[in-house]
């Protein structure tokens, strides 16, 4: 009652004396945090620092798979669409393509969120120890670099934004200079590698570590060496990748399948994972996913599980999943006979599939992905949004990258062979786990250290392809090898699709910058050929 009277009194005062009315306009948003009441102390940043990570989810949750399988996975030669009618797969790339736009949009959203954390840290005054800020800054810079790395690989010389934009004019900046994006990626990751802890306690598992930063930095440096012809970067890459190896924290899992099993997330082989937590809902139902802020699991199982082909359906096929991804014969043929990794990579005729037997006729190519899908039990239907973490950097990837840097940077064939052979050995040892029998003696033999550098790189390319198949590295690998002259895509690559082979051109080394961006930003130029 008292407040009511006060309110009436104030209103009357407002009516009678003009000046006091101004106070009545002092309202603010309700039910939200803001820059005044948040971003002040360590506790705030424990939460705020997760916002950039949260954006990672958006790339893997999308009703139409816009974030990853179409724009990132299709262009490679490992998989193809169920029918030959997909613009992305066939390199008929249009600047109006919504899937490319999704990659662009979500990456810059993650960058914005990182920039906000970095900027707010500067003004935060509730820290018990100022030096604690560096850790949060390191995390934000790690995610920022991760997204710029995606942007650089897909769109080239994209605008570089490393601060919070405050005017609309600032949002109209143009393409960056050659190398500028790579510079930022490197400096961000270097900062993160220096300021992030070596590991996290159980409650914080999932945050980036210094070795995650080092691994990503080494990888980016190899890309830079090959994209920009800066061979010196191989040495930097070796330093950073070697640091990961030398840390002793990581090792190859005995069971290759652990890398894709929900029961073995954040394992010793995994250097950085996207933490998927909210699952078990159906992405096609409207309003289940209330915001696009990043709050979900991955749609990987839905899109890659087997579907239907000309009226023949896998169990739980088309009505539950899209069955949009099929293994090309080119990938199947890449595997050496009896490679146990086949079991974890794709299903083919005769494989146990749920409670039945896989039939090649379910797929246009006769094989569908098993990675992240196995084990596919009958009770696994329907394959709703899954909470299985997406592995971003695995130790075997680091080993192969290090091998490549040693090979191309130092011509150190022996070192490369030794690293490759670590990966092959683990694969070889999986024969028993997978097939419960004794491995054939000639299974995945070690690569001889005496081979030529070219031969060794060919073996390296083979190993990367089979070890990391479907882990969305493939097209990026092809592009960088093409750029540095190791391969020539038109002649060396079979995309498993006649039109894809026919249509591929140099312009496809980069994706078109989304037309919406160009239409709203006159300073921005389109990549060549679009």
């Amino acid at each position: 009652m008292r407040t009511y009277i006060k309110s009436i009194t104030l209103t009357l005062a407002c009516v009678l004396a003009f000046a006091t009315c101004d106070d009545r306009l002092d309202l603010s948003p309700i039910g939200e945090l803001n820059s005044e009441n948040f971003y002040n102390n360590e506790e705030d940043f424990e939460a705020a620092s997760l916002a950039p990570y949260s954006t990672l989810l958006n790339l893997y949750f999308d009703q139409s798979g816009g974030g990853w399988f179409q724009p990132i996975m299709y262009p490679g030669d490992d998989v193809r669409n169920e029918l030959g009618n997909n613009d992305i797969e066939e390199f008929n790339w249009l600047s109006t393509n919504g899937n490319f736009r999704n990659v662009w949009d979500e990456s810059y959203k993650g960058i914005m969120r990182s920039n906000v954390v970095i900027a707010q840290l500067e003004d935060a005054d509730g820290f018990s120890d100022e030096s604690n800020k560096a850790r949060f800054e390191g995390e934000a810079k790690f995610i920022r670099a991760y997204f710029y790395f995606i942007l650089a690989r897909n769109f080239g010389e994209v605008p570089v934004i490393d601060e919070v934009l405050t005017t609309i004019e600032d949002t109209r900046i143009g393409n960056s200079q050659t190398g500028e994006v790579w510079d930022l990626i490197e400096s961000d990751l270097a900062f993160a590698a220096e300021n992030l802890p070596e590991s996290w306690d159980d409650d914080n598992t999932g945050r980036a570590t210094r070795y995650a930063a080092s691994a990503l930095l080494g990888k980016a440096q190899i890309y830079r060496a090959q994209w920009l012809g800066e061979a010196g970067k191989y040495q930097d890459a070796i330093t950073n990748l070697q640091a990961v190896v030398n840390s002793g924290q990581y090792s190859l899992m005995d069971d290759y399948g652990d890398n894709f099993s929900e029961d073995a997330e954040n394992n010793a082989e995994s250097i950085f994972e996207i933490q998927m937590t909210r699952g078990d809902f159906n992405p096609w139902l409207p309003a289940d996913h209330v915001s696009n802020e990043g709050a979900a699991g991955t749609g990987r199982r839905i899109f890659t599980a087997a579907g239907c082909n000309q009226g023949e359906c896998a169990p739980g096929g088309n009505q539950f999943g899209y069955g949009r991804v099929h293994i090309t014969s080119s990938l199947r043929n890449e595997f050496e006979p009896n490679d146990p990794r086949i079991f974890h990579t794709f299903y083919q005729e005769g494989d146990q599939y749920a409670d039945t037997v896989f039939r090649a006729s379910w797929s246009v190519t006769g094989a569908t992905p098993a990675k992240y899908v196995r084990p596919f039990a009958a009770e696994g239907f329907p394959p709703n949004i899954s909470t299985n973490n997406e592995r971003v950097i695995r130790y075997s990837d680091v080993l192969l990258l290090l091998a490549e840097a040693e090979l191309l940077g130092n011509g150190n064939v022996a070192q490369a062979a030794e690293l490759i052979n670590q990966v092959r050995e683990r694969a070889r040892n999986n024969y028993e786990i997978v097939y419960e029998g004794t491995a054939p003696t000639d299974l995945l033999p070690d690569r001889p250290t005496s081979a030529s550098a070219d031969q060794m790189h060919e073996w390296l390319r083979h190993e990367r392809r089979v070890e990391l198949a479907l882990e969305v590295h493939r097209y990026d690998d092809l592009v960088r090898w093409h750029r540095t002259g190791i391969i020539n895509i038109p002649t060396d690559v079979d995309f498993g699709n006649t039109l894809a082979n026919q249509n591929w051109g140099e312009r496809n080394l980069l994706k078109p910058i989304p037309q919406r961006e160009l239409d709203n930003n006159a300073s921005l130029s389109q990549n060549d050929g679009y």
Binding site: V15, C21, R24, L27, P29, K109, I168, G294, P514, N520
Partner: protein, 1178 residues
Amino acid sequence: MLIALWLLWHSPLLAQKVALNQNYRTTANYYSQGETQQSLKIVLKEYEKVYGVRFNYAAKLVSDKYVKHNKVESATLEESLKNLLTPLGLKYERLSDELVFITEDEQNKVKKLDQKRIGVHTEYTLPTRNIPQMSTSLSSRVTSILIERPISGQVTDLSDDSAIPGVNILVKGTTIGTVTDAEGNYSLLVPDDAQTLVFSSIGYETEEVTIGNQSVINMALSPSLEQLSEIVVIGYGEKSRKLLTESIGTVEAEEIQKVPVASADQALQGRVSGVQITNTSGTPGAGVAVRIRGVGTVGNTQPLFVIDGVPVGSNSSDPTTNPLSTINPNDIESISVLKDASAAAVYGVRAANGVVLITTKRGETGKPTINFDGYYGVQRLPELYDMNNTAAQIALIEDAQNNYNAQNGFVAGDESFLELHPDLLPGSRYRDINSPWVDNVTNNNAPIQNYNLSISGANDNLNYYVSAGYFGQESVVNKWDLERFSFRANGDYRINDRIKFGQTFTVSHQNIFHGVNSAGDGFLLANAARMPPFYEIFDTDNSVTGNRYGYEGNLDVAGGTIGNQNGLNEIRDYYKRDTRLLGGIFAEVMLIPGLTFKSQASVDLILERDDQWNPGHTAQEMGLERAQERRDRRGENVSQIFTNTLTYENTFGDHSINVLAGIEYQKISNTSLSGRAENFLSSDPDFYQIVANGQDAIDLGGGAGENSFVGYIGRLSYDFQNKYLFTATVRRDGTSRFSPQDNRRWGTFPSFSAAWRIGEEDFFTVPFISDLKIRGSWGQLGNDATTSFPHVFRVSANPDYGLGGDNTLQAPAPINFVNESIIWETVETLDAGIDVSFFNDKLNLLATYYQRTTKDFLINLPLPRISGFGSTPANVGEVRNTGIELELGYNTVFSNGLSLGVSGNLTTINNELISIDEGISEFTQGDGYRTAIGFPIGYFYGYQTDGLYQTEGEVANAIPDVNSQGPQPGDIRFVDTNGPAAEDAPEGQLFSGESDGIVDPNDRAYLGKTIPDFFYGLNINAGFKDFDLSVLFQGVEGVQLYNQFRRDSESMTGGIRAEQATTQNRWTGPNTSNDMPRAIATDPNDNNRFSDRWIEDGDFLRLRNIQLGYTLPETVTDKINLRFYVTATNLLTITPYTGPDPEVFNARARSGSQLEAGTDRGNIPQTRMFQLGVQARF
């Protein structure tokens, strides 16, 4: 000063003074703040009460005469009448103590024009009712005449046969006369030599009748169609139309009732120049897009709606429904549309798009009136899309696949070889299915009904209007059933001569029962139209236990799985309930004569409840796996308004002034709470009603927000001799939406207007022009409609991320681009017009030129995504709307009793973006709505086409196209119109303007616009004997639409979803077609890109409404006035548009942006309605 007045009002001294002056009397006009003068007739009525006399006069002597106040302490009747009548060229004769005749003063006779001089209305106080006696000489003279024969009869209204009380009947050339009683009857003794009787009454044409031998003379008077003397509601007051300096359009109750509408704003359609009303869909309760004088902004373009002084519309959480839909149109007395700055400026920062004032009915003096209105009707869909049947669809698929295989050299066995799905091959049972998906979801002859009962009346101290209404409308597309119950109680009460108070209240309850049909977006209808015709609606084999609708039969048929939305629509039950209390109380006090203080407190409370029940179903049933789900959301939206005004009006000789000062404070707040849960032990509604009874996935949600406004209002109206009129208005407004920095919350909005009534000048003697006024105005208005708090760095706690396994944590993230510098937009309006009446006001013309320039226009600007955000509220540039408004009315009554009124209006618009602020470039929204300098806002922007490639030879010479994999015969030829600007081009120039030998995004060009060149309305009213007819045409010209439904359904790529039958005219060889391309899977030439192929002219001329009424003759019905009518709505539409309805407005764009406005996604079209109604008055 305000403080002083406030205290004065409260002081005991003053109260005592008021109490003592029990006999203080005043004129009725005292309560009408807006007026500076009073009609003579009303003053005479006042005198009748005060002096206890009755006046008798020829109506034409009194009508059209106005008097001004002149306050003296007391006066005798004689003094008063002398002051009053002499300047007007009138005199009086007192026939008895109670009867006074007023006649023309022969000695003081002046020419007609001079009769328009203004008399002086003497206000008076009378200590007692001591009426001075007059000399007896007059009475004796009269007595000597009164020895003649009696004549009697009844006077009725020609238009509806109702009796007219108070008609003056005078023997021509004499002062002998009488008036009709409440039933319109009169009797009179006339001298033997009397030739002619004159019947006159305000509001009716005066009639003369030769007496001859008749002793009974009945007379039917035709209503006077003179509009100019009407009173118009303006912001915080009212004004005589003759004295308006502003541009204001009005619609009266009669017209509103002619068109059966669910929502009052629809009644404006076609009736007011400058106002374009577009229905957003044929769904009951759907929103209406209102555009006053074009589109001043691309942001929020809806005008401000004010109902009985309460700004409404901004406090509903659901932009897809109409803020006015809960107001009963039957209760509306008038609607005023304030179009220019001078009229709207008193609403300041929210008035930029114009203001629509809605005034509800109040009781009128006379015996209590009971009104009943009711109608029942049916709605029918217009012709819908012609879709392919199964055979045609399969042929199209096959054709698309064959062409694809042939073009790429694929043969059977290739992985990419396309072939018909086994389900579609000859012999498959699916080839025999042709399901009527659209018929299944439509509901032709859906009923619409409305019943309304009101009782009103008034006496000297109070008036009342109470009503109850029921409105029910089902949708032509299942299911969207709207029911509305509304109640209203309006009243005014006079405590004494100084103080009056009153209230305006309405309570309404609206309930919409629907399924997945989400209204407006046409989703359900468009989806049904595009369902593969070989898919079944119902299962034929009932293979699923408990299957309610059936889906198993469609599982993966032809390689597709499409949810059975028709079925989901049936089994899901959603309710959308709005309970609304809208109204306020006011008190009005006369502080000193002429000075009035008014205080009004109002509230607009909307309680929302949206609840839904989704029964669980399996994929076998519906194509989707879904658990039982219950959702329930409650929202509370409160808007409180407190308005205080002081009005002073007075006349000093030839000078009249009216001054208004006021303060308004409004606070809008809302909160909501929602819950959802899955899996209930019982599917009994009484059980699942309670969300908390759910077993799984119980989830809570909610939201809240608030806004406030403070405004200081000032207005001065001045006129000299009623000839030279001037109004100045200023409002200083504050809004909570913007940053407190640099005074960004406050704005001052001035306006000025003036008019010159040339027709009143002595020198103006054009005989056929009865009135002439020129007027002009200038002013500034604001618009703050945007997302609130764009300057605040807002952080949402919603995003999350998992750590330590599956531990989900909040990951608070920024949700807005912070734009601190944002302010309201300013609209500067220039307005010049002329009002002319010809032939005794039979023909009226209004012509106005307007120019609206919007500076800093406010929009949710699409941002480059590199900012991390999709858009932000921003001040962007300058937009100009110019045009002309014309209104022409002609009214006449023919000698045979046929009355005819024709009124037409036309508005032209030229919308152009003048400039874009530095740092902001041209921008595009949606598929291709571009905003760029020199073009209308949100114009269509895409590729131009030039027919089809017909031969290999043409293809060989084709210009390269970055979006094409190389054209083939039968593909569309896109035009190379433009190229990038040269290196040395001036900064800001993006294009060369010349062909550059390649078709690429630079070649996109202007394809059309969503803002019409002009729109118009034509209204014809006719009456003959007991019949009346009204016809309303309405049209729009020079506007384009984006037919997105056609883009989806003429894609020619051979998907299983049904395409339109027009695809059967596709290119199949040289010269088989030059506009419908070949069928080809994957569309390698990108034939379906956004181009002029999808842009169509959306012009239309529509017979919006036709109504024929019949009023029972009074002899049949005695004391009841009974009228029956039939109405047809949207009977005829002439349009080149190929979709079912050219009246398209994207529902999302209604409250928000003009961008994307003209997109037809398969909206539910406007229906044809046929109604039968009855109106009864007791």
